[in-house]
Amino acid sequence: MEVVNVQVLGLFGYLFAEVGRYAYFVAETFRNLFYKKFYFLNLIDEMNTIGSRSLLVLAPVSVFVGMNLCVEGFIFFKKFGAQNLVGMFVAVANIRELSPLIAGLITGAKAGTQMAARIATMRITQQVDAMEVIGVNPYAYMIIPRVIGAILVMPFLVVVAYFVSTLSAYLVAVYQLGLNGDAFMNLVFANITMQDMYKGMIKGAVFGGIIATVSCYSGYTASGGARGVGAATNLAVVRMSTAVVFFNIFLTEWMFM
């Protein structure tokens, strides 16, 4: 009993300590938003890195996600003979939930882990300390450009995911499942509004903020040698995918219900 108590207390203590440190990190990031120097070129550089690297992974993945969604919806709706309604399923599931989520997960896996690995490498090879010594604020220099860059870029990645996955769902519906293409697209457009798309983009921006802060935090607090860099990257990707899926439920409840 004693051992169990100690372990449970240890787990919860660890959890709360980590959440507290993360909150402190985010607060510090916000405080340094108004630092006397804003590294604008770093921001452009980070936006370029995040956007272009994630796009090359996101676009092919979205193709297969849309195809898979269309096939699944068709199989499910065929059970009650409503297979022509698959466009509705694709529109609702894709625009509201799946595209922001997939964009978040892929950007997290690609750009987020890269941020974590790079910042952890800088921390472990003591480049962060060197930066502080020569009077460069590490938050303003490397954290804030990444966070703002992710928030600004993610909505556009979500839009790319919308278009690519809906197009691939259309191609599957017409050429694999033999549905009527015009009827499919009419159903898609009847069931989404511009509002839904904006809301999905807002979701994407929130996910971008979560991803960037969590992975920068994991990299910034790394310790240990080569093993520590790997561990920080690992922690970053687990924490951010959990956080993204968890906050998705609140965003859905707030926006679509």
């Binding site: 898979n68 096939v71 896996a109 080569a226 860099v229 690992n234 859905t252 679509f256």
Partner: protein, 259 residues
């Protein structure tokens, strides 16, 4: 002509890596069936993988089930068929969401951990030391992980499915106030055994895929601490992409035969 050569040469490394990975996989399959099998290490890896992946799996699948229940409750109540929420939820979870999301979480927890560990061992030349001591690193380190991925991911998938159903129950019944009996009664109406088996087989294939990719990335890492980070990053990205791509073909193969 210039740009064509440029494009081809950009994709050349990709093909090379695929070939190397296939060779690596065949070598490790051969190592399973030749003597000296480290069974204790395999059990160790299985236990570690279960323990480390369980919390992320629970934390991801429960909100996912809740979100699907929320959206489908809204859409189905337009047709007055809100009882169908749980049928859609269980079919979606068993077939698609649980295998894919659990595999993504296994890739980001166990796969990244494997790549980081093996990469650190490679960078600090511990793997070379093992070879010098005539311990085959493929048998001692790769085979246990591959088998653990192959056997543990389906189990985690089933756990995740029930977590998702529980999350959907919490939202649909406790928060949105639909009928508890209707939720439980309609749960398995559209589900048949093929859906469950298809999901489990999918998960096993994804688990093997994840472990092959991350073991390959970690085993051939190079370049100090930055190299280990790069290997971890690559293993997560490649695993997630290949899971989502392979998923379409597996869905068509398992469930699309009668359409």
């Amino acid at each position: 002509m210039e740009w064509a050569l440029h494009t081809i040469s950009r994709y050349f490394p990709f093909v090379t890596v695929l070939g190397r990975m296939a060779g690596f996989f065949l070598e490790s399959v051969a190592a399973i069936f030749t003597p000296k099998f480290y069974s204790v290490r395999m059990l160790e890896q299985m236990q570690r993988m279960c323990v480390h992946c369980m919390v992320p799996v629970l934390f991801v699948l429960a909100p996912m089930g809740a979100v699907v229940a929320m959206e489908s409750l809204k859409v189905f109540s337009i047709f007055g068929a809100s009882g169908m929420t749980s049928s859609l939820l269980s079919v979606a979870l068993f077939r698609e969401l649980a295998p894919v999301l659990v595999s993504v979480m296994v890739a980001s927890q166990a796969g990244a951990e494997t790549a980081a560990e093996l990469g650190a061992m490679r960078v600090r030349e511990q793997i070379d030391a093992m070879e010098v001591m005539s311990v085959d690193p493929l048998k001692a380190m790769i085979v246990p992980r591959l088998l653990a991925g192959f056997f543990i991911t389906p189990i985690l998938t089933l756990v995740g499915t029930f977590t998702g159903i529980l999350g959907g129950y919490i939202i649909a019944v406790m928060v949105k106030g639909s009928n508890s009996g209707a939720y439980m009664g309609n749960l398995f109406v559209w589900l048949n055994m093929m859906d469950v088996m298809g999901g489990v087989i999918k998960a096993a294939i994804f688990g093997l895929l994840i472990m092959v990719i991350s073991c390959h990335q970690g085993f051939y890492a190079s370049g100090g601490a930055a190299g280990v980070g790069q290997a971890t990053n690559n293993s997560v990205v490649h695993s997630v992409v290949s899971i989502l791509v392979v998923n379409y073909f597996l869905t068509t193969a398992f469930f699309g035969f009668n359409i």
